[in-house]
């Protein structure tokens, strides 16, 4: 079910990453207000775990003793390159492994969707020790291969190509920060291995129409040269799709909605320049056709200087 999770998990991941960079223009992921300086490359390795026992079948919250706890292990590589100080290119490669603690269903594993993001900061204004900046992030996520999408919730993903655009505004005053962002995710149709399926009606085709989705996020917390610590609230809303019927299996084009809250921290070591550690924790507090997941993730990052000169801003 709730593989549902996956896009979510992925977003999770995205929150992470690293990067470092004195003060304001720190790190970077698809959803944060941090940038990698020009000619610097941040490489990060992360490991995470997500699990749920309860899930929402439509709006009906239940357990399923035929699956027990459904968990996902995630290992992820991320790269962020500073093309310019205000223009970054981010790539991530996630490997997922699913497992059900009870019942007979086999777990699945494999490299899921490759993510490519261009992050651009077109605007920045300072006043005293306050700073306001705006970001635009364009993304494309592409399944690395034709993994099995028809065995949710054990499948590792939904198999859809996703084009996204995100607008993000960030305000910083001293060491206090607050940012708001919204994204629109255009999702391509997917092809399943069967020639017919039932959503809320019968469809005689292998192609499945995937509804688009929207993501909204607010985060706020502390940010200085070495430490970033933020609380996050995140909402993913599928714009269409249908509910899982009572006692039916989940399906790729379900209306998967979730609201999560979490904490995220990044710490850049003082002694070893360029080395950072990351961690986050999220809980799904409300959802529809998704698992009520608890997830956490941890990792390290290192920043390499690839240019002859680095223009620190």
């Amino acid at each position: 079910m709730l593989k549902t999770l996956l896009p979510k998990v992925l977003l999770n991941l995205l929150f992470l990453c690293m990067g470092l960079k004195p003060i304001i223009s720190l790190a970077q992921t698809e959803t944060d207000a941090l940038m990698m300086p020009q000619n610097k490359l941040c490489i990060a390795g992360l490991a995470g775990y997500s699990s749920w026992t309860n899930y929402w079948e439509g709006t009906f919250k239940r357990e399923n003793a035929n699956m027990g706890a459904v968990s996902t292990n995630i290992t992820m590589l991320m790269f962020n390159y500073g093309i310019k100080n205000n223009l970054n290119f981010i790539v991530n490669v996630p490997y997922l492994q699913t497992k059900a603690s009870k019942g007979t269903l086999a777990g699945m594993q494999g490299v899921q969707d490759l993510g490519f993001f261009i992050k651009y900061k077109p605007f920045e204004a300072t006043s005293g020790n306050s700073l306001l900046s705006l970001y635009v992030v364009g993304g494309l996520s592409v399944p690395s291969h034709q993994y099995n999408i028809d065995l949710l919730p054990m499948s590792i993903g939904l198999g859809s190509r996703v084009a996204s655009v995100r607008f993000l505004g960030d305000f910083q005053s001293g060491k206090f920060t607050a940012s708001v962002s919204g994204a629109y995710l255009h999702r391509s149709n997917v092809t399943i291995d069967r020639t017919a399926y039932f959503t809320d009606h019968q469809i005689n085709s292998s192609e499945v129409q995937m509804p688009d989705a929207g993501n909204f996020q607010v985060r706020s917390g502390y940010r200085d040269k070495h430490l970033i610590a933020e609380a996050i609230a995140d909402n993913m809303t599928t714009l269409g799709g249908f509910d899982i019927r009572k006692n039916d299996m989940p399906f790729v084009s379900n209306r998967m909605n979730s609201t999560r809250v979490g904490l995220e921290a990044k710490y850049y070591l003082k002694k070893i320049s360029g080395l950072g550690i990351h961690g986050n924790y999220f809980r799904t507090v409300q959802g529809r056709n998704v698992g009520k997941a608890t997830s956490f993730m941890a990792g390290v990052s290192y920043i390499l200087n690839t240019g002859s000169t680095s223009k620190m801003d």
Binding site: A65, I118, A163, S188, Y197
Partner: protein, 514 residues
């Protein structure tokens, strides 16, 4: 601002890269309007499945085309056909592809809609859908594969029998279609020389409506609206006058009552069994020294329709069911069983994506139209190329679905006779790539269905026989690849299915249609 527009334009490009048009074209969207290659005008003599003689249904003689009553009907028809709305035209375009075909699609949809096992009660028991109270949860029916096989079969047999009787009266009364009587009427369906009274569409819609009311009572409003739509389509398209439709509709319902009378006494009503029967199956198996089947669901669900194997078959007697039952599966503790378990384990441990595709393609599990529905879909894709008359469409589906229903009966009889365990019950290391069905393993239902279907379809469409055999083989092995069946289940299933298909062939050879 230009700085903001650049990424927006880039996003638009990305969008077009992954294609923004999400409309899906369904496989059945471009079927051509039905224009039979041959009329089968003598089909009134073909052998019926359930009803005895056409003369048991005395259809009254129609008014002559020269009568005032008929002329009034013709005038009505002209005014109805003169000003069609777009909605009416869409309905015409939908139904003109073929009555029997469209109802087969509708049935598959109803089966998929209702093929969900009930959710448990708070105390860990399961509620049973009730035909007497079809609307409240769990909605009636749970159209699992045996239920579906029987439903497809009765509807197909009723349509076929009703059409045979209708063709008998078509020939006897020989009243031409309105567009033949008055050439000012330009029908929106293909013209042919088949007598129009009683209307074949109305016969099919009347018979189907009655059967589906019995089989899918919770959808009565939808079913009724489709039946009404179909009769209107014949009027709006100028294909039939009202009296063609009234006679057809009434004949169809009349025939349906005979089929329903059989359905109500075929043994399905008690096929679910009760606690005493479920316990006895278990103890009997233990006494034979074998490990009995256990529900792998949690909470444990009673076995699916344990007495379905006693339901009255379509193509042979209940005694034949017993004679078709294959010999026993490998004993639980035999080296042969260990070998079979090892094979299942090897397929599920590191499954290839190609095998997963096969598992998914043939899974036909909860929420789908079931394996019998899948074979109906496969048959439809081929039948539609052959431009059959309505009565031949009905005959071919009736043969296919009689074989599928009897396959379900023989298979269920076998499953509960041996009551043997699923692979993952005997070896918990086996994890499955699809849901484990809630009934014993031997023999494989998919294999029995597929063997039966491929055999009769290969006879009806000899050019495709090899292809159907290969598909049946793949369907059968998909259950081994998925980790829910042993090879012995699959092989015995296919072999028995082939034998059942042969009964359908024998019938086809003597039903007068060839």
């Amino acid at each position: 601002m230009k700085k903001i527009f650049t990424p927006l334009i880039a996003f638009a490009c990305l969008c077009s890269l992954i294609s923004c048009n999400k409309e899906i074209e369904e496989d059945n969207e471009h079927y051509e309007a039905l224009q039979p290659n041959q009329l089968d005008a003598d089909a009134g003599t073909w052998k019926t499945f359930i009803v005895a003689l056409p003369s048991d249904f005395p259809v009254p003689a129609p008014a002559s085309p020269t009568s005032a009553a008929y002329q009034t009907e013709l005038n009505e028809l002209k005014s109805v056909t003169a000003n069609l709305t777009d909605k009416q035209k869409n309905i015409i375009n939908y139904w003109k592809v073929g009555s029997v075909l469209r109802w087969n699609e509708i049935m598959r949809k109803l089966v998929a809609k209702h093929n969900l096992p009930p959710y448990q009660n708070a105390d860990g028991t399961y509620p049973v859908p009730s035909a007497a109270n079809p609307f409240s949860y769990p909605v009636f029916p749970f159209s699992n594969p045996p239920y579906a096989a029987r439903a497809y079969s009765y509807v197909s047999a009723a349509q076929y029998d009703a059409l045979v009787v209708a063709y008998h009266y078509k020939k006897q009364y020989n009243r031409a279609a309105p567009y033949k009587v008055d050439t000012n009427i330009k029908p929106l369906v293909a013209q042919n020389d088949l007598p129009a009274y009683p209307s074949e569409d109305a016969v099919v819609s009347g018979a189907t409506l009655e059967l589906l009311k019995l089989l899918f009572p919770a959808d009565i409003e939808y079913i009724r609206s489709k039946a009404e739509e179909e009769k209107n389509f014949r009027l709006w398209s100028g294909a039939n006058v009202k009296s063609d439709l009234v006679a057809g509709d009434s004949l169809g319902r009349w025939v349906a009552r005979k089929v329903i009378a059989r359905a109500k006494t075929d043994g399905m009503g008690t096929a679910g069994g009760n606690q005493a029967i479920w316990t006895k199956l278990e103890t009997d198996c233990r006494e034979r020294g074998e490990t009995p089947w256990l529900s792998l669901e949690s909470p444990k669900r009673p076995p699916m329709l344990p007495l379905y194997g006693n339901v009255k078959p379509m193509l042979f007697s209940s005694a034949t069911v017993v004679s078709l039952r294959p010999g026993p599966p490998p004993a639980t503790n035999s080296p042969k069983m260990r070998q079979e378990l090892n094979e299942v384990l090897s397929y599920t441990k590191n499954p290839t994506r190609d095998n997963m595709k096969i598992v998914n393609f043939w899974a036909d599990g909860a929420g789908t139209y079931t394996p019998p529905g899948h074979w109906n879909a496969i048959a439809t894709q081929e039948f539609v190329k052959h431009k059959y008359s309505e009565v031949r469409w009905a005959r071919n589906y009736a043969l296919l679905n009689a074989a599928l229903m009897d396959a379900a009966i023989v298979c269920w009889n076998t499953k509960y006779y041996y009551f043997n365990a699923r692979p993952c019950q005997l070896d918990p290391a086996i994890k499955t790539l699809t849901g484990v069905p809630n009934f014993p393993a031997y023999t494989s239902g998919h294999s029995t269905f597929s063997g039966a279907a491929a055999t009769i379809l290969g006879y009806l469409l000899p050019a495709k026989a090899h292809e159907f055999t290969a598909m049946a083989q793949e369907a059968s092995l998909s259950r081994l690849y998925g980790g829910i069946h042993y090879r012995a289940d699959c092989e015995a299933g296919i072999e028995t299915g082939n034998k059942i298909g042969q009964y359908a062939i024998n019938r086809a050879k003597t039903d007068g249609a060839e």
